[in-house]
């Protein structure tokens, strides 16, 4: 009966890059006050590239799977690429997200943008 794509269930049950970095260069944190979902992203940056990334958080399957998947999407990418990452890329990487839950899926992206703010 699940409307959740396999990829969401997979990332939710087996989160990638979950945890903290020793000395992150960039950190972004977002909370959805309506449900308590929280995502924290930590990035290590060297020579304009994301060399390491971790997420931490709690909440629903969608927000946590999206955070896990997002770490994979940006790992090793140039900051320029990461900065231009669009909502729809994340959503399609998740195999599509039900409209009533877009907010959950986009929470990690908002955390990423907060982390990147410190660059500009």
């Amino acid at each position: 009966m699940s409307p959740y794509e396999e990829i969401i269930l997979d990332h939710w049950k087996n989160p990638r890059n979950k945890g903290r970095l020793a000395a992150p260069d960039l950190v972004g944190m977002e909370v959805n006050p309506l449900c308590g979902d929280a995502v924290r992203l930590e990035l290590k940056v060297a020579q304009g590239k994301v060399t390491d990334v971790r997420f931490d958080g709690q909440g629903c399957a969608i927000s946590q799977a999206a955070a896990s998947l997002l770490t994979e999407l940006i790992q090793g990418k140039s900051l320029a690429e990461v900065q231009t990452l669009e909502e729809k890329e994340l959503l399609s990487a998740l195999g599509g997200v039900i409209q009533t839950r877009l907010n959950c899926a986009l929470l990690p992206l908002r955390a990423l943008r907060k982390a990147l703010q410190k660059l500009s």
């Binding site: 409307p3 959740y4 449900c35 308590g36 909440g59």
Partner: protein, 406 residues
């Protein structure tokens, strides 16, 4: 006794599909659905009698005013009150803001004590926080037991001669607990405190008699009791309404106005500044009429029956945690719960795929959720149009959610 099929036929939204499935609406504690008669009462007003009230002396305005005041009388009768004591507001929230402000202006001084409870909805908590801050008064919350009952012994200890007001919900919108208002009133009056009751979750489901409850003020919303959005009620004892200064000012609440000062009309007009929600008051009266035709006892019994069924079904599932009293007789028509390890949002989304609407979140009761050690919970709530079959479908769907996500 009650013809459920016919009642369901009165609610047009129930014909709608939700994600391709027949709609099973289990979120009436958030807002109820509306019968034809309520929808019609509003549109008929606009089509046949629309005019502003209290102002015009032509027939149309006279009729509109009569309908508006008849709505007030009907609501007053519904709660066993006099109509001069019924103030129309936008909803419970505005009513409680008005009460908190007015109690503050007339009774609370620095160092005085204000009591709320750990189970309050934000609407009956933050206005009192603001008052405490504004008047430098002390705000204390009556604790709850593990099963979600108020700790009355602790409450008694909190009462002092400086306790000026006790703000308490009649029925918790999360725990479902029905609080013993008349006992609380008796104790509070013993120290001279007034009691303000949040009846948002009780007015839709049980016969309220303000004189029997004994409280000093009471608030509820139309939209949770089959009525329109945009209308609610603050009832308060005449002595209070007389003493209270107005909350909002403007047209229709005045006696005489000069450029630098003004005097006020008598209650309830004093508290109804500006053009009121006229069509909505008339719609609320139609909702009251609908509920009274069924009978509030029947409404309550029906809600209890469905709650009993839901409680039993949830309790029999070991991966389900339930919050609040375990007996349906001690509850309003709602159950909050969680599936172990699953986020309420995921549960709600998966149920919605089967056409079942439940609420997931903190239900505007963050402190209570913190007290329970939760970020959020699921909540199923019922009204007169829900059936046993719907509750059973909900329980079965919950098993599929558990299978899919566990």
């Amino acid at each position: 006794m009650m013809d459920l099929a016919q009642i369901r036929g009165d609610f047009p939204v129930l014909k709608r599909l939700e994600n391709g499935k027949p709609l099973i609406y289990l979120d009436s504690a958030s807002t109820s659905q509306k019968p034809h008669s309520v929808i019609l009462a509003e549109s008929r007003f606009y089509q046949e009698q629309n005019a502003n009230v209290r102002r015009g002396i032509y027939l149309l305005a006279y009729e509109a005013t009569e309908l508006y005041e008849a709505a007030r009388r009907r609501v007053a009768t519904f709660i066993g009150a006099r109509s001069e004591e019924v103030v129309f507001t936008r909803g419970t929230t505005e009513a409680l803001n008005l009460a908190a402000w007015a109690v503050g202006e007339t009774r609370v001084s620095p160092g005085d004590r204000i009591l709320v409870t750990e189970m309050e909805h934000h609407a009956n908590l933050i206005p009192w926080q603001e008052l405490a801050r504004r008047k430098r008064a002390e705000l204390l919350a009556i604790p709850i037991s593990e099963e979600g009952h108020l700790d009355l012994a602790a409450f008694r200890k909190m009462l002092t001669s400086r306790t000026k007001v006790v703000a308490v919900t009649h029925v918790s919108n999360v725990l479902g607990t029905v609080n013993p208002i008349s006992d609380i009133v008796e104790e509070a009056h013993g120290v001279g405190a007034v009691v303000v009751v949040d009846a948002a979750q009780s007015a839709p489901h049980m016969s309220l008699r303000v004189t029997e409850l004994g409280c000093d003020a009471l608030a509820f919303s139309g939209h949770k009791m089959l009525g329109p959005t945009g209308i609610g009620v603050l009832w308060a004892k005449s002595e209070l309404l007389e003493a209270w200064p107005p909350f909002l000012t403007g047209g229709e609440m005045i006696r005489e106005v000069w450029l630098d000062r003004a005097t006020w009309a008598d209650p309830p007009a004093k508290f109804e500044a500006g053009t009121p929600p006229i069509a909505q008051a008339i719609g609320l009266a139609a909702a009251v009429e609908y509920l009274e035709r069924i009978g509030m006892d029947v409404v309550q019994t029906h809600g209890r029956e469905l709650t009993t069924l839901a409680l039993a079904g949830l309790q029999s599932r070991p991966h389900v945690e339930i919050y609040g009293p375990k007996k349906a007789e001690e509850r309003g028509a709602l159950v909050a719960f969680n599936l172990r390890g699953l986020h309420p949002h995921d549960v709600a989304t998966l149920l919605d795929q089967e056409g079942i609407c439940i609420r997931a979140g903190h239900h505007c009761a963050q402190p209570l959720h913190r007290r329970l050690g939760l970020a959020a919970s699921c909540r199923a709530s019922f009204h007169i149009y829900n059936t046993r079959e719907e509750v059973e479908a909900f329980l079965e769907a919950l098993d599929r959610v558990w299978e899919a996500l566990r």
